[in-house]
């Protein structure tokens, strides 16, 4: 039989005294003690020795002892600070906030820029058709002015030739009649347009001048048969009397001044 060691006896002694009772190993020790007289004697001696060793009872402390201890301690105790965010934490959050705000600002600026750019592009894409609608007003105007100017220049040349023509020379008169026919058609178109356009910027002398020019050109172009010397002389006198050549010259010199202000009067030309 294997006897219990002193250590096991000590453990058994205290396990008995504990409120939770002996564990499984202590149960084995108890069984052994019940069957082994030698170990039981040793255990009895141990119990005697330890039993004579009473728990030291401390001197009594009255009910105010705890308060006395507290009064002696309270002045030495620092006050706990309420938990605060560390400066690093605060700084970090501040930094993140600023970064987020800056990021938002940049994003807004970017979006606004994109929108503005898109609007500009849309405006630009819408405007050209307007320009294409208005732009023809100027080129045709310029074209008409050029045409009118050219017509007046050729008419002036014809009138000058007519004024200085020799009434007896058929060779001189015949080309004038051809030119008068061409100019007569152009003059009628100019007249029609001048009558249609009601523009205050239009030279008021243009329409009457074109009317009288039409009359002279018509006589010169449409006279049946050969123009006689008397007919030529009559036309020259009429030309001198009416001052048509002078008016045509004046109109021709004015045309450059009206280039920017003039309105289309011959859009169909």
């Amino acid at each position: 039989m294997k006897h219990l060691k002193e250590e096991e006896l000590v453990e058994h002694y205290y396990s008995q005294s504990q409120s939770q009772g002996p564990d499984e190993g202590e149960g084995v020790a108890a069984d052994h003690l019940a069957s082994c007289a030698a170990c039981a004697a040793d255990f009895a001696a141990l119990c005697s020795d330890l039993g004579e060793f009473p728990a030291v009872e401390p001197p009594d402390r009255d009910a105010s002892y705890g308060e006395q201890v507290w009064q002696s301690l309270r002045h030495a105790l620092p006050v706990y600070e309420k938990p605060k965010r560390s400066w690093m934490g605060v700084g970090l959050w501040k930094g993140l906030s600023y970064a987020a705000a800056c990021g938002l600002l940049v994003a807004c600026a970017f979006v606004a820029g994109r929108q503005w750019e898109r609007k500009q592009v849309q405006t630009a894409s819408v405007k050209p058709p307007q320009q294409t609608q208005t732009a023809p007003a100027h080129p045709p105007q310029r074209v008409v002015v050029v045409v009118l100017s050219d017509h007046l220049e050729r008419s002036e040349r014809l009138l000058v030739q007519l004024k200085h023509a020799d009434a007896d020379s058929d060779e001189m008169i015949s080309p004038l009649r051809d030119q008068a026919r061409v100019l007569l058609a152009a003059n009628r178109i100019c007249r029609q347009d001048a009558h249609k356009v009601d523009d205050p910027a239009l030279d008021p002398a243009l329409v009457p001048t074109l009317d009288r020019l039409d009359h002279v050109l018509a006589q010169l172009a449409n006279h049946p048969g050969h123009l006689s010397a008397a007919e030529i002389t009559r036309l020259q006198d009429e030309l001198n009397a009416s001052g048509l050549l002078f008016e045509v010259r004046v109109l021709r010199t004015r045309i450059p001044e009206h280039r920017t202000a003039a309105r289309p009067i011959g859009g169909t030309i």
């Binding site: 205290y14 141990l46 020795d49 060793f53 030291v56 002892y65 308060e67 507290w70």
Partner: protein, 193 residues
């Protein structure tokens, strides 16, 4: 003063929030038990009072590290045991008591009974208690503390181990060595009784 009705956890939360006075409730509630164990370990009233104050001061300073899941009473008890252990560990003459004409626990002096003295004299004079105290004083601080906690405070090996910061098996061994030494030291007395 913090109201006694509040439990330890509420008092600790209040303290950590800046209410120093709340610690008063904990001090009042636990001072008696701390004094008892401190006296049993140190065997000295003045030392025990110092241990109580020191333990409560340390407890306050370490309150932030206290885990709210555990029991404050157990936690401060362990701190007091450590303080008491430090106290008796720092004493001079802790290696044993001197034999003197009269027993004087304050001076760690023990009057050993003469061989001629009868056992009735020993029983009646109360010298046995002094011898027992002297025998306790002869233990190492760890053995003495472990024995006090086991024999007088009825603490388990695990609790002793936690209080001393050692393994449970080492705590058992410390108790066993303490019992061995005490029995050996008090053996002459037993023979005469």
């Amino acid at each position: 003063m913090f109201r006694m009705g509040k439990n330890d956890q509420a008092a600790i939360r209040a303290i950590l929030s800046g209410d120093k006075e709340a610690y008063g409730a904990l001090v009042v509630r636990h001072s008696q038990s701390l004094f008892r164990v401190a006296f049993r370990i140190t065997g000295n009233e003045a030392d025990a009072e110092d241990v109580v104050q020191e333990a409560l001061l340390r407890g306050y300073q370490k309150l932030e590290s206290f885990e709210s899941r555990s029991n404050f009473g157990t936690w401060i008890y362990r701190i007091a045991v450590r303080c008491a252990l430090d106290r008796i560990g720092g004493r001079k003459g802790d290696k044993g008591s001197r034999v003197a004409e009269e027993t004087d626990p304050e001076q760690d002096e023990v009057q050993v009974a003469a061989q001629a003295a009868g056992p009735d004299r020993l029983l009646l004079s109360g010298e046995i208690a002094a011898l027992q105290q002297a025998a306790l004083g002869a233990l190492t601080p760890t053995e003495r503390t472990a024995f006090v906690l086991r024999h007088m405070e009825d603490r388990s090996s695990e609790e002793i181990a936690a209080a001393l910061g050692i393994a449970p098996n080492a705590a058992k061994q410390a108790v066993f060595r303490a019992v061995q030494k005490l029995r050996l030291r008090l053996a002459p007395l037993r023979v005469r009784i």
